[in-house]
C-alpha cells in the first residue's frame, strides 16, 4: 500500500527489480501464514478438543483463556478449529470463481465475436441473481456443508474475475507476440494457454486473494443467518451462537469479539497481500 517503489523514469537497468515487499505487505504475509498454520495444525495448537464439554458460560481464566460457551466447550479451541472453515470456504470459493472466471474471460476476450457476446450476457445474468435465496435453496436440498457454500460462492462470483481477465485478454490479443504466434499457425488453445494466460496471472492473483476475503465475510454472514454447517466449527457460527445464546446481553464480549476479530484480521491479511501484489503488478507493468 505504500508507494516507495515509485517508477524510476531514468533507470533503465536490465536487472529485474528484486521482490520488494512493503511494511504492510510483511504484516499481511505474517498474519496470513499464521492463520494458515493455525488451520493446518489445529489439533496440535488447540488446548482442548473443541467438542468436549466443560462448565458452560465460564469467564476467561488460566484454564480456559477465552472461557467456555453455552455448551461448555472451550472457546479458544473452537476459535482455532474455526480457522479451518474460513480457509476451506475462502480458498474453495476463490479457486472455483477464479478458475471459471479466468476461463470465461480468456475465451470471451480472445475469441471476441459471438463467444464474447454470449459469455458477457451470462455474466450480466449472474450479476443479477440474488445470492441469499440461492444459498437457502441449496441448503435445503443438499446437506449444507462448507464445501457446498464454497462451491456456490464460486459459481456466483466468477463474473468480476471474468470481466477483468477479458479486458486484459483483449489487450494482450493485440500484442506483437500473439499476432506472431497466430501467423505461425499455432492453435488458438495453445496461444491462449502459453502466451495469453501467463501474462494474465498477475492480474488474476490479486483478484484471487480478494475473492478469498469476500468469501470469508460471506461465510460469516450466512452462519449469522443460521444457515451455516453445524458439523464444523466456524467463526461465523460462533458469533451466531454468541448472539443467540445470551453472550451479547450478559456481556460475555470475549465470546463474540474473538471470532469477529479473527475474521477481520484474516480478511485484512488477505486484502493486504492482494493489494501488495497489485502494487507490484502495477509497478512492473510500467517498468516494461
Amino acid at each position: 500500500m505504500t508507494d516507495f517503489c515509485e517508477r524510476l523514469n531514468e533507470w533503465k537497468g536490465n536487472r529485474l527489480m528484486p521482490m520488494i515487499i512493503s511494511k504492510s505487505g510483511w504484516l499481511g504475509l505474517a498474519f496470513f501464514s499464521s492463520f494458515l498454520l493455525m488451520a493446518a495444525l489445529s489439533p496440535v495448537l488447540a488446548p482442548y478438543d473443541p467438542w468436549y464439554r466443560f462448565e458452560p458460560y465460564l469467564p476467561p481464566d488460566e484454564l480456559h483463556l477465552l472461557g467456555t460457551n453455552d455448551l461448555g466447550q472451550d472457546i479458544l479451541s473452537e476459535l482455532i478449529f474455526g480457522s479451518r472453515a474460513s480457509v476451506i470456504v475462502g480458498f474453495g470459493a476463490a479457486l472455483m470463481s477464479t478458475a471459471i472466471g479466468t476461463a470465461a474471460g480468456l475465451v470471451s476476450g480472445y475469441f471476441r465475436g459471438m463467444a464474447d457476446e454470449i459469455i458477457m450476457g451470462i455474466t450480466d445474468i449472474f450479476l443479477m441473481i440474488p445470492q441469499i435465496p440461492l444459498i437457502i435453496v441449496l441448503a435445503a436440498f443438499l446437506r449444507p456443508s462448507l464445501w457446498l457454500v464454497a462451491l456456490l460462492m464460486g459459481c456466483l462470483w466468477w463474473t468480476s474475475t471474468a470481466r477483468v481477465v477479458r479486458s486484459k485478454a483483449l489487450q494482450i490479443r493485440e500484442t506483437g507476440y500473439v499476432q506472431a504466434n497466430r501467423s505461425l499457425g499455432f492453435s488458438s488453445l495453445h496461444i491462449m494457454l502459453s502466451d495469453v494466460l501467463p501474462n494474465i496471472t498477475h492480474v488474476v492473483m490479486p483478484k484471487f486473494l480478494l475473492s478469498i476475503a469476500s468469501a470469508m465475510i460471506a461465510e460469516a454472514s450466512i452462519s449469522f443467518l443460521g444457515l451455516g454447517d453445524p458439523t464444523m466449527k466456524s467463526w461465523g457460527m460462533m458469533i451466531n451462537f454468541a448472539f443467540s445464546r445470551g453472550g451479547f446481553l450478559n456481556g460475555l464480549w470475549w465470546w463474540y469479539m474473538a471470532p469477529g476479530l479473527c475474521i477481520t484480521l484474516f480478511v485484512l491479511s488477505v486484502v493486504l497481500l492482494g493489494s501488495m501484489l497489485e502494487e507490484r503488478e502495477s509497478v512492473s507493468l510500467r517498468l516494461q
Binding site: L71, L227, G246
Partner: protein
Amino acid sequence: MRRSLYLLASLLLLCMLMLSTASMGAEEATGEVLKIGSPNVIKSASILGDSNMGVFAHLSNPTLMKMAADGTIKGLTAGSSEVSDDGKTWKFSIKDNLYWSDGEKLTPVDVQFTFNYLAENYPAAGWMKNTVDNISIQEDGTLVFSLNKPYSRLNLEFATYPILAKHIWESIDDPMEYTNEGENVGFGPFYIASTDLGAGVIYFKKNPYWKGTAPKFDSIEIHTFANMDVLSLALEKGDVDAYYKYAGTYPYSSIDKLKETGNFEFVEKDNIGLIFLGMNLMKEPMSDLSFRKAISYAINYSEILKLDALGYGKVPNSGFVPPSMMNFKETAKLEYNLTQAKGILDGAGYKDTNGNGILEGKDGKEIKLTFLTRTDYQRPTELMVDYLKAVGIDSEIKNVDSSTWIKQKDAGEYDLTITRSTPWGMLMHANWGTGYFDSRRTGEGVLHVLDDAKFHQLCDDILAATSEDQLKDYAYEVQDYYAENLPAIPLYWNLVETPYNKAFQGWYSDPLYGIFNVDSFLSVEKTQ
C-alpha cells in the same frame, strides 16, 4: 476543497447530537400506560389472518371460555356451560353486562353468528362443519349446540376463538385477508385503538362501556421486538414494563441479568408444552421399540436440562405428558444409563461387526440416521448426536429452515428431529399431546407418525367421552401407552418464566395464554 469537507463533517456531527437529545423525552401517552414487550412480531393487522395478532386480539375480543390456572375450563364470555349426558348437546349462557366499544350490547346472536361465520370462513374452525349440526338460541338467551357425535372437548376448543361483532363482521366475506390497522371494535376491557406495523406497536384503549371490574390502566401498548436481546435491553432500561411470549419462556440465559437489577419479579409456571425428540416411526430402525428404548437410556437428561434450559425444569417421565396437565399420571422416570442402552441394542441384534464403533442394522448395513434440525434447536441436536455416538449410533445433522423442515418432516425424509410442543398443541385433537402423533391428522407442527390402531381407537374414545372420570381413565391409558411405546422421548419439562417490573403487581397466568388474559389485565396495577 478541504475546508468544505470539514464543514460538512462537523455539521453532520452537530445534527446527530442535537437529534439524539431532542427526542430523548418522547412525550408520554395520556393517562396510565402499561407497556408490554413481546418477541411475537405481527406481520399484518389481521385478527384471524395473523396468528400472533390473533393472540393479542383476545384482550379486545375475548373467547367464549377460558382455562383456569388449574387447567379446568371456565366461562369467560359465557356465564356457565353444561353438556348433556350423551355429550351431543352443549348449552352456554352468555353474560349480559358486556358491551361493544361502539356502545352496542353483546347479545347471544353475536356469539351464534361468530361460530357459524368461523365454521364457514375460517379454515382452522373447519372441523365444526362436520361436527356441529346447528346452533340455536333459547328464549332465556342460552346458546344450544347440537352435535352429530359426542365431542368431549367442545368447551376447550371454544377457549381459542375470539367472539366477533355481528354488525361489523357480517359484511366481511374473507376474514383471513381482512386487515384493519385502525380501530377494531371489541367488547373486552380494552379495544384495539390502532396497530402501527412500522413501529411494531399495538395500542389498546380502555373500553368506555366495560361494566366489569374497572381496569387500573387507561391504555396498554404491545411493543413487538424482532431481536430478543434488544427486547431484554428495553426491559432493563424500562422502555417496556413486562414481557410476554406466546407458548414460550423468557430466555433462561438472560434471567440472571434481570434479577441482578433487582427491580424485576418473575411469574413462574410449569410449561404444558415441552422439547422432545421426535422419531420417524414409519422407517427402520426407529420403528423398532427396543431401538427407541435404547436411545431413551442413552440421553443424558440432566446435562441437556442444565445446558439447554439452564436448570429451569426437571427430568421428564417416559409418559411424555408434563405434570401441569389435567389428569397427569406419574409414569416411570426416564433414566440415563449407557450400559443398559448398549445392552438393549446388543440384545436387539444391532452389532458392531467391523469394530469401527458404529453399529450395523439388522440388514447388516451401518446405521446412519438423518437428524433433521431447525436453527432454533441446533444446540440440543449437537448434544443428541454426541449421546448417540457414545452408544455407537452414527447420525448426520441436516440443518434446514422451518418451511423445509415441515416439508421434509411430512415426507418422512428423516429419522430423528428435535422439536417442541406448545400448550395448545398438547390440548389439540384428543388432548395430552395425541395431536402430535395421530397419523390421521396433519399440521405444520405435528409429526403424525403413529398409525397404531390401538392408539387411534384411544383417541376416538377420548373425543367421544362424556364424563370426567371417563376422561381420567383414558388420560391414564394414553400416558401408559406413551411410557410403553415411546413414540417420542421428552428431553425436559421446563418452567415458563415471565419477568415483570416490580412497579407493577397482580399478574395472573393461565396455562394457555400465560399472563395475556382478561383476568390478568383486570387485576394488574401499579404498586403503591
